[in-house]
């Protein structure tokens, strides 16, 4: 039997279909947590956790294995990489656009105001530094008065 040798680009394309379990509008490649793909003997995917205690870490690893197995890749290994630590700067432009459409303000640089994902106004205020998940804060727009979530800069 001849073993198939996969191309990293092909693997990456399959991985770009895997949603983040907590913010399913984003894929794991939008989030920037796929750090390396090694197609030697079998396929090794290097992933980095967003937060130390992110409960999605195991779920993401399982869905990566499942997604590749669906494509017929049988020998999949996951490597956890901690360094350099994940930063919200790695969220792709496409990921930021999807977040906005979904109603979550994407992370901004610290010196920039957080814009409302509904009406785009900069006139917003923080309600709570913590939201439904560790990575989000709760905000309110003072222009359209809608509450919204902000993906914190990390």
């Amino acid at each position: 039997m001849v073993e198939t040798v996969y191309k990293p680009d092909q693997i990456l394309e399959w991985l770009s279909q895997v949603p983040d379990p907590e913010i399913p509008v984003l894929t794991i490649t939008d989030l920037g947590i796929v750090r390396d793909i090694d197609c030697g003997a079998g396929v090794t995917v290097s992933l980095t956790p967003t937060y130390s205690g992110c409960p999605a870490t195991e779920a993401i690893e399982a869905s990566v294995i499942a997604a590749l197995e669906d494509q017929g890749v049988s020998d999949v290994r996951i490597r956890r990489v901690l360094s350099p630590a994940w930063t919200t700067d790695w969220i792709s432009e496409e990921g930021r656009r999807k977040l906005r459409v979904y109603g979550i303000a994407p992370p901004e640089r610290r010196d920039r105001p957080v814009a409302c994902p509904q009406c785009n106004s900069d006139n917003t205020e923080v309600i709570s530094e913590f939201g439904s998940t560790a990575c989000k804060a709760s905000y309110r727009c003072l222009a359209c008065l809608e509450p919204f979530e902000y993906f914190k800069c990390l």
């Binding site: 205690g53 901690l82 309600i127």
Partner: protein, 252 residues
């Protein structure tokens, strides 16, 4: 001790601090004074548990005896835990929990910062991950200290009492024992005397802002780093380890 043994013991100690404080904070879930605090507390607790898992997994790798993160958390008796006495102190009222967090996190953030520059890449990587979270924690707990200290007469008096009561557990954070010294010499680890200077400065500034008085000249308790714990610790472990003790090997 061999280099690997130093790293295993040191990472276990770091894991113990994170796990025990994380477990204390879990006890607060569904008991916070307001919804936003509930979320903050649960998120922070999760950060600590995540850090503990990484430190334990790394310790198990260095040790090379096949122990997993769960073995470290659930199958060790009290005297094998090396966490600071401060983190095992009961939650008390919200002011007590706040002061415990401020005193510990102000130290932990400086320790992690030093560890990001140490010569043990495994520990440096976890520290670099963890410090991003702990910077958030210390900012949050400090804001609460100011709010309570500079709040009402009642909140001021109560949080001052919390500070006076918990202060005695800060001494051992800066007393370097054999393991701290080996970590410093062999792996360019944290210099606790340098951290003490910075910690005193930072804590004095927060305490002043909170219009509270810094305790002085107190007797200091110690023993956590050697496995001699306060009477509260056994109860914490009894609850946390119950399932694995009663049903060994049970899986989620």
């Amino acid at each position: 001790m061999s280099g690997k043994a130093v790293l295993a013991a040191y990472a276990t100690r770091l894991g113990d601090n994170a796990l025990v404080l994380g477990q204390r904070m879990i006890e607060l879930v569904a008991a916070s004074p307001e919804l936003e605090e509930e979320l903050a507390n649960a998120n922070f607790s999760l950060d600590y548990l995540g850090q503990a898992r990484m430190f334990y997994t790394y310790a198990g790798e260095c040790e090379g005896a096949g122990r997993t993160e769960d073995d470290f958390a659930f199958l060790r008796p009290e005297h094998e835990f090396r966490n600071l006495l401060l983190v095992e102190q009961p939650n008390g009222h919200f002011g007590d929990s706040t002061v415990r967090a401020v005193l510990f996190e102000s130290w932990y953030v400086l320790l992690l910062d030093a560890l990001t520059r140490c010569a043990a890449p495994g520990i440096a990587a976890i520290a670099a991950r963890a410090i991003k979270e702990v910077r958030y924690h210390v900012r949050h707990s400090s804001q609460w200290l100011v709010r309570l200290g500079d709040g009402t007469e009642e909140s001021h008096a109560r949080v001052q009492a919390s500070l006076d009561n918990l202060w005695r557990y800060t001494g051992e954070m800066f007393v370097a024992d054999e393991l701290d010294t080996e970590m410093l010499d062999a792996f360019d680890g944290p210099d606790l005397s340098a951290i003490e200077v910075q910690w005193r400065q930072n804590v004095a500034a927060i305490v002043a802002k909170a219009t509270l008085a810094l305790p002085a000249g107190q007797w200091m308790a110690s023993g956590g780093k050697q496995g001699r714990h306060t009477e509260h610790f056994g109860f914490l472990l009894a609850e946390m380890q119950y399932l694995q003790r009663a049903y060994p090997g049970a899986e989620w």
